[in-house]
Structure formats: structure tokens, C-alpha cells
């Protein structure tokens, strides 16, 4: 098996995996019944799909031009870092709009739920105004 064939199989595998994961993520966005469940598709599956595209691009540029390009890795790391932050913000917005404070379980922390309870006056280290 020649070296070029191995690169070709690797790139094709990652491209097909990327397509399947991206499609599954967006299909979940359409199909699932409410937002807390819908969050799972785009934040996990689609991120993995884009990561696979970028890995395929890295293997492609290494196999055909012989150089490793850092851009793809940078985008992958950036997306992997920002996806959970986005999901957390969207879940907070959903709770802010749809879940009453009485329905929440006990936060079992010092401050209560962020977004519902304000920080106690003596715990404020910085001026938040």
C-alpha cells in the first residue's frame, strides 16, 4: 500500500465522519422536542464534525504539500473552547425565561443560583456597577 493511498483513505474517512456528525447535530436541532435537549446536538455533534473537517484539512495539507499548518488546529481548539461557553449561556437564557425560581432544586452552594440570586453584599470583592 503506497503512502499516498494511506493519506487518501485517512482524509476520506475524516471527511465522511465530519459529514455524518454535522448532519446528525443539525438533525437533532430540528427533531428534539425542547431547548434543553436541542442544545446537545449542535454543541457536541456539530463541534465534532467541524473538528473532523479540520483534521482532514491538516492531513491533506501534510500529505500533499508536506507542511503542517497551525491554522486548522487553532480553529479546532477555539471551537472546542467556545462551544461549552455558548451552551452554558443559552441554558442560562432558557432558565431565565422559562424556569421559575421555586421550581429549581437547592443550589447547595454559598450564593444560590447565578442569574436568580444576587451575590451577598459582603461577598462582593469588586465594584460591579
Amino acid at each position: 500500500m503506497s503512502e499516498e493511498l494511506i493519506f487518501e483513505i485517512a482524509v476520506s474517512f475524516f471527511l465522511v465522519a465530519a459529514g455524518v456528525f454535522g448532519l446528525v447535530g443539525s438533525f437533532g436541532l430540528v427533531k428534539l422536542p425542547d431547548l434543553m435537549r436541542r442544545l446537545h446536538g449542535p454543541t457536541k455533534s456539530t463541534t465534532l464534525g467541524v473538528g473532523s473537517v479540520l483534521i482532514a484539512a491538516m492531513i491533506y495539507s501534510y500529505g500533499w504539500n508536506g507542511e503542517i499548518v497551525a491554522h486548522q488546529l487553532l480553529i479546532t481548539v477555539f471551537l472546542l473552547l467556545t462551544a461549552p461557553i455558548t451552551a452554558n449561556f443559552l441554558a442560562k437564557v432558557y432558565m431565565h425565561r422559562h424556569v421559575a425560581k421555586e421550581d429549581l432544586p437547592d443550589a447547595s452552594g454559598d450564593h444560590g443560583w447565578s442569574g436568580y440570586d444576587t451575590v451577598p453584599e459582603e461577598m462582593k470583592k469588586i465594584d460591579t456597577k
Binding site: L29, R38, G41, V50, A57, L79, T86
Partner: protein
């Protein structure tokens, strides 16, 4: 073989963009619309990178880096505006 895989991936992400558009139009709540918009950004990055592989140039990776940043910042700005009524306090 790569050509077929590339076309398969492009078709999948194009269909995924259509699904996102359906959720963007239908979405009962504003949160669903923000989520659909964020997913559209991510799928757009994937499509741009696939085009970059097909063309064999490196320019599109820098473009997709910019789009990733603006997508993240706009999603967070939307969410903060709904949560706090203000973006930068």
C-alpha cells in the same frame, strides 16, 4: 476517493444548513433562534474549510478563524442582552 468524500461532506453540511434554517424560522423561542444561528456559523466554517480543501489554498482557514470569532462573540452578546438587558456593563 477524496473527491467523493468531499462531495458527501459538502452535501451533508448543506443539508445541515437547511435544517438550521428550518429551526431559525420555526423556533418557538428566541433561544432556539440564537442556537440555530450559532450552529449556522459553525456549519458555515465547516463548508468554508471544505472549499479550502477543494481549492488547495490556505486563505479560507484564516477567513474561518475570523468567522468563528465573530460567531462566538455575537452569540454571547445576544445571550447577555437577554439576560441583563445590556451587553457591556
Amino acid at each position: 476517493m477524496i473527491t467523493f468524500a468531499l462531495w458527501f461532506a459538502v452535501a451533508c453540511f448543506a443539508l445541515a444548513l437547511v435544517f438550521n434554517l428550518v429551526r431559525l424560522a420555526k423556533g418557538p423561542d428566541i433561544t432556539d433562534r440564537i442556537l440555530a444561528l450559532d450552529t449556522m456559523f459553525i456549519n458555515g466554517i465547516a463548508l468554508l474549510n471544505l472549499y479550502g480543501i477543494a481549492e488547495g489554498t490556505e486563505v479560507y482557514f484564516e477567513v474561518s478563524m475570523l468567522i468563528a470569532m465573530t460567531g462566538f462573540v455575537s452569540t454571547v452578546a445576544f445571550c447577555r442582552f437577554i439576560l441583563r438587558g445590556n451587553i457591556i456593563e
